[in-house]
Amino acid sequence: MTEPRASALAEALRNHPFFAGFDTAFVRAISAKASDQRFDVDEYLAREGTEAGLLYAVIEGKIALEIGSADRPHLTVQTVGPGEVLGWSWLVPPHRWRFDARAVKPSHAIALNGDVLRRTLRTHPKWGYEFMVRFMPVLAERLENTRVQLLDIHAR
């Protein structure tokens, strides 16, 4: 990737709610090997079981997270939209996607390289801590939402 391209991605990341206010040097560091990606409707960002090497910062559109198996239809359990991040399997071994991610609207995301992220977070603990302070609420919120789904609030 050319330097100006990386710089543009870093700028776009700084405007993303998840990364807003982060140390500029950190954003620049994790922008290495990042890519600007666009997805048409029904195009997949991730497939369950495949290598999960990316963290998506969603800029536009809507992504459906789907779980399924051969003996039952796939079920969408959550949608992710602008300002949100998608994917934590890049952080958690064995780094395999746990679900399918499919665009249900034309979507635009910045795909951050998992290797670069892990290396940057490991070698700069201060950045690593701040990242986790932001990332954990995302996971906690999704856990809470899953618990509410388990409550089946519309049950008869």
Binding site: P73, H74, T76, L151, H154
Partner: protein, 288 residues
């Protein structure tokens, strides 16, 4: 409740005996979901129930089977009424099997409705879960009729699956208005659904309103209302500006029998719409 909350005088609603239903004829039937039906009914003769206000309920009588409390989803000057009923027991099963020309008994309307007038001058958020949409439908049209009197209007509608959404086409028509923001979400969906997926509470952070100047009207299953009200208050909406509609085992509908007691209140007489500020402590108590 508040002094200026709409209320119908309990005994004066029904002409004659307080428990005598007035016959209505089923004009049309719409199958909303496999187990939920919308009935449009009109007075059988000269007698009709008084006009209802958004959020009030009536007792619908399936002759020979029994009667149940059902929210008023709409009506017109000619006395037509709209009721949406889910088949969940003998009476509601009978009501959902009515066909045009059949007769149904109605008495009411009863209870306190939504204090829509209190919301004038500020933003409004309407949150419906599943069959919580019918009691809020008239609130939405009241907001539309007096749109200039309110600030931003947000409507959030959640259901278990896309198949459980009622008034689907009608609600899609609301999306075409540029003075209302609509979010529809379901708890889970198949691949044919291209809308939002996530419990209704997940949409609250995305709502655009000025919290201290916002009035919220929330209707749905009790756990949904509790979690939604909490999410709204966390965003800064005042508990005294948050309203929920309770459902209990209403039998007499006029505050006599006590079947619908909820703490110190009778839901039929003191509700069904309550201020969240007053109800929040009770919502945390088991088996009230």
């Amino acid at each position: 409740m508040l002094a200026d909350q709409p209320r119908a005088p309990a005994h004066a609603e029904t002409m004659g005996h307080p428990f005598a239903p007035i016959p209505y004829t089923v004009r049309s039937v719409v199958l909303e979901t496999p187990d939920t039906t919308t009935l449009v009914v009109e007075p059988h003769g000269d007698q009709r129930i008084p006009s209802s206000r958004p959020g009030q309920f009536v007792m619908l009588y399936a002759f020979g089977v029994g009667e149940v409390p059902i929210g008023v989803a709409g009506g017109n000057a000619e006395g037509q009424l709209i009721h949406t009923v889910r088949s969940a027991g003998k009476v509601t099963q009978a009501l959902t099997h009515l066909t045009p020309g059949d007769t149904v008994g109605i008495r009411g309307p009863y209870g306190h409705g939504w204090p829509v007038a209190n919301a004038r001058g500020g933003d409004v958020v309407v949150v419906a879960g599943g069959l919580g949409m019918p009691p809020l439908r008239e609130v939405v049209y009241e907001l539309f009729r007096h749109r200039d009197s309110f600030g931003r209007v947000e409507i959030v509608y959640g259901a278990r699956t896309p198949k459980d959404l009622v008034y689907y086409n009608e609600i899609q028509s609301w999306r075409r208005r540029d003075d209302v923001r609509l979010q529809v979400t379901v708890d889970a969906a198949g691949r044919e659904w291209y809308g939002d997926v996530g419990v209704v509470t997940t949409r609250i952070p995305d709502c655009r309103f000025d919290p201290p100047k916002t009035t919220a009207f929330v209707c749905g299953p009790e756990i949904m209302m509790k979690l939604t009200a909490q999410a709204l208050v966390e965003r800064g909406v005042k508990p005294e500006s948050t309203w929920i509609s309770m459902e209990r085992n209403m039998k007499c509908a006029i505050g006599l029998c006590g079947h619908c007691q909820f703490g110190p209140s009778f839901v039929c007489r003191d509700g069904p719409v309550f201020c969240y500020r007053d109800l929040a402590p009770l919502l945390a108590v088991r088996e009230v």
